[in-house]
């Protein structure tokens, strides 16, 4: 088994660096008073999707990674996208927005809960935003784990392929808390599966493309 056989396209956002298939598209050069990193990355990458600005930071992070991966790559195919399964994992889930919403109800004298904040207090809203953007109507699931868990992702993708539920999966990790944005999104197709698609090659793929991506700059 050759580990490098499993080589799907991916987008990684980590430590202020945005990469697609290992190529750096944006690297943050933080200056005092700057806009948040994700917004700066969005502006500098020439993306135009006005709904982006009403999303919370978790959804912005997931959206940006999915947008960069699915637009202008081999996966830019609407028929494929409508049936693709979306399998996302997060650690902090919606905690950043939860804290924001809680601050609007903490003080009875300044009780002003906002519907536009509350709707983002669910981690699967980022999945919904990605589905809206790409008109994805397939299976969807959000797992919560302390860090990206290749075993859970691999087992589910393998099950979906084996049972004939879908031919392709958009999968990965999206996390956001207190200004720290992380995403790793990739697409795997059933026809990429050969002997090399197994738990080991899958974990190696995540390891070399995401876990180590902060060493690229």
């Amino acid at each position: 088994m050759v580990i490098s056989d499993l080589n799907p396209e991916y987008c990684s956002i980590r430590d202020g660096v945005v990469t697609v298939n290992g190529n750096i598209l944006y690297a943050d050069n933080h200056q005092e008073g700057d806009e948040p990193f994700i917004i700066k990355a969005y502006r500098s990458l020439g993306i135009s999707y006005p709904k982006f600005f009403k999303m919370d930071s978790l959804s912005k992070t997931g959206f940006l990674a999915a947008e960069l991966l699915l637009k202008g790559t081999a996966t830019d195919n609407q028929e494929l996208k409508s049936n693709i399964a979306v399998i996302l994992m997060t650690g902090n889930a919606s905690l950043d927005t939860d804290l924001n919403f809680q601050s609007t109800i903490d003080n009875p004298a300044a009780y002003f809960p906002s519907p536009s904040i509350f709707v983002y207090t669910l981690p699967n809203i980022m999945l919904g935003e990605i589905c809206i953007r790409f008109k994805i109507t397939g299976e969807g699931i959000v797992f919560i784990d302390r860090e990206i868990n290749g075993t859970v992702l691999y087992e589910y993708i393998d099950t979906l392929f084996t049972d004939g539920i879908t031919d392709s999966c958009l999968f990965g990790w999206v996390d956001y808390l207190n200004g720290k944005a992380e995403a790793f999104i990739s697409v795997i197709h059933k026809d990429m599966i050969t002997q090399s698609f197994n738990q080991h090659s899958f974990n190696s793929f995540i390891q070399r493309t995401f876990r180590t991506s902060n060493h690229q700059h």
């Binding site: 650690g91 939860d98 809680q102 509350f118 981690p123 699967n124 109507t137 959000v142």
Partner: protein, 381 residues
Amino acid sequence: MPAVYKIADNIISSLGFDTDENFRNIVSGISGIRETEKFTLPAGKVHASLVDDTRLEASAYFDPSKYTRLEQLIISSIHNAVDGTGIDMADPETLIILSTVKGNNDLIVPGSPFEPDRIHLWRTAGIIKEHFANPNDPVVISSACISGTLAIIYARRVLISGKYKTVVVAGGDVVTPFILSGFDCLKAIDPDPCRPFDASRKGLSLGEAAGTIVLSGQMPAERDTIIEIASGSSSNDANHISGPSRTGEGLLRSIEKTLGNRSVDEVGFINAHGTGTLFNDEMESIAFSRCGLDNKPVNSLKGYLGHTLGAAGIIESILSCWSIEKNMLIKSYGYSQQGTSVPLNMIIGSAPATVKACLKTSSGFGGTNATILISKYNGYK
């Protein structure tokens, strides 16, 4: 494809601490949604379905000072489901799946006596794993209101893959000021107890509960009725993050995938999501009609237990299993007059009936929809 069977279950709610107590109260027409002073809203009175504190803390399974309210509920529920059944929680072939929407959300307020990482859903699952000395990493599913139904679908798929012998699907959520304020600011809370599908409905009632359904690829020991999770699927509306599709598109697709090449005649009744909000119930009626299911008996169980978020899909599926096992269709509590543009065959009185299968549906924020077919085992393949 191998079958996946229900081998044990439990519900802890305002209506009881095991499924039998819940089922008897429900069939007797008792709702657990009551006016409560535990929570307040600017508009005044709050109705919710809450678990009795004294009874919960009297549980013999743990020291209540060491576990959060949600952890107490879920640990008690799993114990009640598995103790005495021979299910080995410490077996490497037993997997725990946790379904929760907001987890220990009550700890978000400063001054919690618990360590800070207890706010995380993965930590809640870790606490449960440690309590039961289960060797596997628990899987946490948090996909809004479909979490419980999706957890059952995931469990079914994992069992078919053959890696585990037993999957314990546990779920729960507690009512907190955060969740109540949130739904209230969306104008989604009915000031009175919720009335799913009724013309006078004004929103949902929140509920807290925990539920456990234990599934296995091995047929349970001899009993009158064997229940299987025959099929399941999910689909996204790709339409709006908080409003359900006006055409019921995602739910329709999920139902079609779940039924596959089965005839709609095989569906004995539908256990709907039926939250009591104007938009959800309307969307469901349209989807059922478009699937040719509008003459099927329909109930929502939220009039008894409120919207229990991460527990909802699990406890409503369990009650629907019991409906099949006990040959008893359950009345849709709170319904009296058609309140959707497509008329539905609402169940207006609990009554004996023999049915073979139930279509259980769930829909939620983020455009999510999930459905499962719960069936009497008779060799569906």
